[in-house]
Symmetry: C2
Subunit: 202 residues, 2 copies
Amino acid sequence: MVLKLYDFLPSGNDYKVRLVLTQLEIPFERVNIDITKGESRTPEFLQKNPNGRVPVLEFEDGRCLPESNAIMFYLTEETELLPSDRFRRAQVLQWLFFEQYSHEPYIATSRYIVSILGNPPEYEAVLAEKKEKGYAALNVMEHHLSDRPFFVGDRYTIADISLYAYTHVAHEGDFDLSNFPSIQAWLQRVQSQPRHIPITQR
Amino acid sequence: MVLKLYDFLPSGNDYKVRLVLTQLEIPFERVNIDITKGESRTPEFLQKNPNGRVPVLEFEDGRCLPESNAIMFYLTEETELLPSDRFRRAQVLQWLFFEQYSHEPYIATSRYIVSILGNPPEYEAVLAEKKEKGYAALNVMEHHLSDRPFFVGDRYTIADISLYAYTHVAHEGDFDLSNFPSIQAWLQRVQSQPRHIPITQR
């Protein structure tokens, strides 16, 4: 089966899927979608995801699966990246939903405004609000990681991959991680996993 | 096992869990947490969920699980509310993440501002932006439901429960559903499921 990943290279959401596919050694083909040029809103792309967002994973038979965290869950069922214990699996989901609701809308979008859109001045007030809520999310992570090596069950799972994706580039959205020693140590642990790749690697 | 649900009665996120527990006929005890009075940010509550949000499901042994959609997934594994097929299960997750990222932040929070906070004038600009993005989410739902009875696999699942929770009270945030006939028919189908309860029922 040849998997096709519709993917914008700087996107952390897309990177999550690229990293999982690479760590599981699953071959895939990348199709670049430049979201800054509207390529995720064309009629053709909206057939694949009516919500107009990357990433989308396309199977050989044409079925399409959007939403980075749903794709990761699909790819890692019955692998070591997703616990087989029911409660631990729910805890992984807890952090995936935390990531999409309480983390990504502040930390990822700040990076998008600052580093991808080039920090246009009209976003100043928006960025200030995102900063406050982004630091709140980082505080929750720092607290949780203060006495554990990974987010769930003392093992590297997709909860770590999901939160790593935008946390390790948070400085590109002007977040300062120097007061978050547990997060910094955890970033190092994630980076030292076998077959780790950097965000811009295809 | 006695389950304890920390729950704010008007909250759609909390209602999701109450509805699942009721439909699966799982007994539980409700603990009311009034989020408008800061009761989800007390030191005691932050022990249960450091992110300071309801709902939280507490087990008899003291373990706690936050995040409505993660709780629903946990409760419905190996029930008819969650498909056993791996791809369909991933599609359910796709819609749960859609709900938390593209729907709830606009439709639920508009209702919170309009009907729970009493529509204070300083939120006017915020509400206008939420309206645009909320209608975008409703359009994605209307399109998807135009040729299917439920969100995934032609069956009632937690994807429907998740999206029903705030869609059926969208008018309380000043959304008008009259131009969404497929959504309206789907709301009726959800309401006609066995053991359905309204949002304010304990």
